[in-house]
């Protein structure tokens, strides 16, 4: 855990059983991912002090917020947390500006208004300050909630299903806003979601939760490239996610070259700018394995690699093969029959064949805000 990170360990038998332990560094996004009812929100409530699990330790930087063993418990209002609630929970009797001002009690009086206006501007609501929550759209309410959470100058930012109540277009924009926030804010950011799309686009790390128990915890690329994450696979289909740099854009052919740790991929170009980093997801069902490099194919992407794991689930006919390509891990979903025919074993040198069009680029929206109201010290 880093200098100003968050370290959490929670245990309780009921009412919602919990057994998790995790940490998150500043600038990282930990996505707590799991089906509804798995205890995701309870974790956020325990971090903020709104819930008190039987056994808990919450450490934010140098401060201990909860330690049941030592009898330490700081009430929620004495913790610097920014909490964006699922339904935003704006104060209905206050204006957008009033909502933000409420979270600025730690600032000297004369500064508060200026700061609140800055934050409103930062979320592009500079002209809506005098409106009340019911006069704002869903996306606008979300931004007020976000600005209010940032006003607190939080040591940790908690987002509970932040995109559940907005439509797809707004969702994309908010996602990229939060992504740019992560880069500038430099606090640990915990995101609770049941939608893998949020995880793939925003998370740097993932905690997978099932019935309050952690069933997977690690960096996004490590976790998505593990061959045995059955729940994750059922939810979105297996496929590893990793970062790649845009190294060349070929406008005429409509293709983009992506350089990753150990090779390059060619994908259909979208509105990408060179030298930016994008997230790439390669669905396992779109990866074909070959024992030798094929010729005479229309394929752009032929990646040599070594089989590092094979996971066969008896309930499924498909087998997940994990291949190390350079320093990334790819997953390929193949039939049991193919494993037998090609006699695939761990340590084999194979070629992964990937169609360009099946590569998913998780690109931030170009219209996102850049001034994000960063933490001032």
């Amino acid at each position: 855990m880093g200098e100003h990170g968050l370290a959490v360990s929670l245990r309780q038998d009921g009412p919602i059983p919990l057994d998790v332990e995790f940490s998150c560094d500043p600038g990282h996004v930990l996505a707590i991912f799991g089906p509804s009812g798995s205890g995701k929100t309870t974790i956020l409530r325990a971090i903020s002090g709104l819930a008190r699990p039987a056994q808990a330790r919450v450490q934010a930087g140098a401060e201990t917020w909860t330690d049941t063993d030592a009898g330490v418990f700081r009430p929620p209002h004495q913790r610097a947390v920014g909490f964006v609630f699922q339904e935003y929970a704006l104060f209905p009797h206050l204006t957008a500006l009033g909502n933000i001002l409420t979270a600025l009690g730690h600032r000297p009086g004369p500064e508060r208004r200026t700061r609140a206006e800055e934050l409103l501007d930062a979320v592009h609501l500079g002209k809506q300050g005098s409106k009340r929550p019911h006069e704002l759209s869903g996306g606008e309410r979300q931004r007020v909630a976000l600005a209010r959470a940032l006003a607190r100058e939080p040591a940790v930012l908690l987002l509970d299903e932040p995109f559940a109540a907005v439509d797809r277009a707004v969702r994309r924009r908010l996602q990229s806003e939060i992504d740019s926030l992560r880069r500038t804010l430099h606090v640990p950011l915990i995101l609770v979601t049941h939608d893998f799309d949020d995880v793939a686009r925003l998370a740097t790390h993932v905690l997978m939760l099932e019935h309050g128990r952690s069933v997977g915890y690690g960096s996004l690329s490590t976790l998505t490239s593990r061959p045995d994450q059955s729940w994750l696979h059922e939810a979105v289909g297996p496929g590893s996610v990793f970062e790649a740099a845009v190294s060349r854009i070929d406008v005429d052919r409509g293709l983009v070259t992506l350089a990753f740790d150990g090779g390059t991929l060619i994908a259909p170009a979208r509105q990408l700018t060179a030298a930016t980093t994008v997230r790439v997801r390669v669905p396992a069902r779109d990866v074909i394995l070959a024992t030798s490099a094929p010729t005479g194919l229309s394929l752009h992407n032929v990646l040599p690699g070594i089989v590092s794991a094979i996971h066969g689930d008896t309930t499924r006919d498909a087998v997940i093969v994990q291949m190390t390509v350079g320093r990334i891990l790819l997953l390929a979903e193949v039939t049991r029959d193919a494993i037998r025919k090609l006699d695939i074993k761990v340590g084999d040198h194979l070629h992964a064949l990937i169609k360009s069009v099946s590569i998913e680029l998780l690109v931030p929206d170009a219209n996102s805000f850049d001034d994000t109201g960063q933490r001032t010290t």
């Binding site: 409530r45 903020s48 002090g49 709104l50 009430p75 929620p76 209002h77 004495q78 913790r79 610097a80 947390v81 920014g82 909490f83 609630f85 699922q86 339904e87 929970a89 704006l90 104060f91 209905p92 009797h93 409420t102 979270a103 009690g105 730690h106 009340r132 019911h134 006069e135 209010r148 959470a149 006003a151 607190r152």
Partner: protein, 222 residues
């Protein structure tokens, strides 16, 4: 027209609000947010004055706070008068009779505030008192207003409890509704009519003020 009776009625209504509202806000909030053993029984006890005939309530108050009972002596020691046949006693009885009219709407008002909104207030760094004053009370305000109006209107119209506990002492415990009854008994239809009309006007004004105030509150929050 018995002006002193009108004055007693208005004082009694205002006094009941002043005595009962702070207690009602505290207790309504406790019932809305706290869970404790026997809460159902407490809620039932709070409602009882609503369904009990006022004379029964008056009877029990007289028995409980009679001159010979320890509670009655305590009341006299604190207030300086015995409970029966004094304005203070009447005020006390009126406060008891109005408990459900105050506690129930205020409890519903606090219950209607989303738990997330209260949690958000805590996460904004507001202390419990700041949460109460800046978030909860403003949001529950229409209910508090309703409680006050109901209490005032109910006190103006109260008859049974007043007659049992207060009797009919001019300028002290004779309220307008008692005075109307009194005049009717004396075949003074004219005075009774004037006073009845006065009560009607007061009631109408009260309701108009309520409507205007609640409209203002609603337009403030939309």
């Amino acid at each position: 027209m018995d002006w002193s009776a009108l004055r007693v009625s208005l004082w009694l209504g205002t006094g009941t609000i002043l005595v009962l509202l702070p207690l009602g806000i505290w207790f309504g909030r406790v019932l809305a947010y706290r869970h404790f053993r026997g809460k159902l029984l407490v809620e039932a006890l709070v409602t009882i004055p609503l369904i009990l005939p006022p004379t029964v309530l008056g009877f029990y108050l007289l028995v409980t706070f009679g001159a010979r009972s320890p509670l009655g002596r305590a009341f006299q020691a604190v207030i300086g008068h015995p409970l029966p046949f004094s304005f203070e006693g009447l005020l006390f009885a009126s406060a008891i009779a109005n408990i459900p009219f105050v506690v129930q709407p205020i409890q519903r008002g606090f219950e209607a505030i989303s738990p997330d909104v209260r949690d958000a207030a805590a996460c904004c760094g507001l202390s419990p008192w700041q949460r109460f004053l800046r978030i909860e009370l403003p949001l529950a305000w229409p209910s508090v207003l309703t409680a006050a109006i109901l209490t005032f209107a109910h006190t103006l119209g109260e008859f049974g409890v007043v007659l049992m506990v207060g009797g009919n002492l001019p300028g002290e415990t004779r309220t307008l509704s008692i005075a109307i009854y009194d005049r009717m008994q004396a075949f003074d239809d004219r005075s009774a009519g004037i006073m009845a009309a006065t009560l009607l006007v007061v009631a109408t004004i009260t309701l108009m003020v309520t409507t205007i105030l609640s409209r203002q509150v609603n337009s403030r929050r939309g």
